[in-house]
Assembly symmetry: C2
Homo-oligomer: 206 residues x 2
């Protein structure tokens, strides 16, 4: 029997068990989840337990024309995507401001800086200046590894690219200066636990 899983991505398929003839419960929970969905599930987990309040910002849209039909909801008839001027996620954890961007790459040995826009780098710097906790969550989807990378490392490489021309951050640097996140079931991407494990309270990324 062939089953086609819609939107199934390779790193979830590894959890499939071979059919041994016995019926056993198969965990479908995280199969086919995108990295974004994994983070949203994680944030929902934190929210439900009063651990942190962190939301993804809505996609910025420039609305040009709206229809107001009688007796039904307003319909946006023409709109355009705008470039975001900030990172995608922010919120509060133990009184501290949390700000991050989530990025996925299929590369196996480095993380391409083309994943960022100049204004996101500027935003991260500004938040650091205000003593926010700022980082990037990176998913290396081909090798199934996740990292919490301090914004300072990304900014350092961003600056360097104008001098040495290198357009990516080597995985070895991310291993050295970032923090690996071991994905779980719930929460899927326990990044706040990673923050806590590496830093005493109040010492986040100073």
């Amino acid at each position: 029997m062939t089953i086609n899983y819609p939107k199934g991505s390779s790193h979830q398929l590894s959890s499939l068990k071979k059919d041994t003839g016995k019926k056993r419960p198969v965990n479908f929970a995280n199969r086919g989840m995108t990295f974004e969905a994994e983070i949203n599930q994680t944030n929902q987990y934190y929210l439900d337990r009063d651990i942190a309040v962190i939301h993804k910002k809505p996609t910025p849209v420039q609305i040009v024309s709206v229809d107001y039909p009688k007796r039904s909801a307003a319909v946006i008839k023409e709109a355009y995507f705008k470039e975001a001027s900030t990172t995608d996620y922010n919120g509060v954890y133990k009184g501290r401001y949390i700000d991050f961007e989530a990025k996925e790459t299929k590369n196996k040995t480095s993380f391409p800086l083309t994943n960022f826009h100049e204004h996101q780098i500027v935003h991260m710097k500004r938040c650091l200046n205000q003593q926010g906790i700022v980082f990037v969550l990176i998913c290396f989807s081909s090798i199934k590894r996740y990292f919490l990378v301090p914004a300072s490392l990304v900014i350092e490489f961003w600056k360097k690219k104008y001098t040495n021309g290198r357009k990516s951050i080597p995985l070895s640097d991310i291993e050295k200066k970032g923090y690996e996140i071991i994905p779980g079931f719930s929460p899927r991407i326990p990044y706040l636990e990673t923050l806590d494990r590496y830093f005493g309270e109040g010492d986040y990324f100073k």
Copy 2:
């Protein structure tokens, strides 16, 4: 000579000088600004000077259909407004998480609670639990007065409305437990100065 100022609102017109026959520079800067525009100008002021990083969140939109014409930008052809699950503004100031909603009313003696949705109240409570600094900026447009009102006061009245049926916060309570903001030229609504004036660092709305 009659001049019609588009979108000119009464509280800016007071700055108009009588024509004395001499030509003098007239300040058009804040005339006709909506409360939202005034806050955006204020946030831009703080951003430019590295005082705080506070942004308005984009309007949440559910996108249903998108056209990808050749050689031009993607056009959203069908989308709907979604209800926001958080407040409109958040960001970071001196390491602390800032979260607020901005509301305008034409009422002169009270602020109607119908300006809020249940989920916004829930969101404010959650942020308070995380020791965020949470408040509402209220503009009484008819009497030209601005207040910074701690979220705790709004939550208190929100709860009460189920017991005593009162559906608004009297201005007198806002005067007692909120903090009046004296509008300036730049920044227009200096709400962070108001925060600082009333609270020592670290004592915000505990």
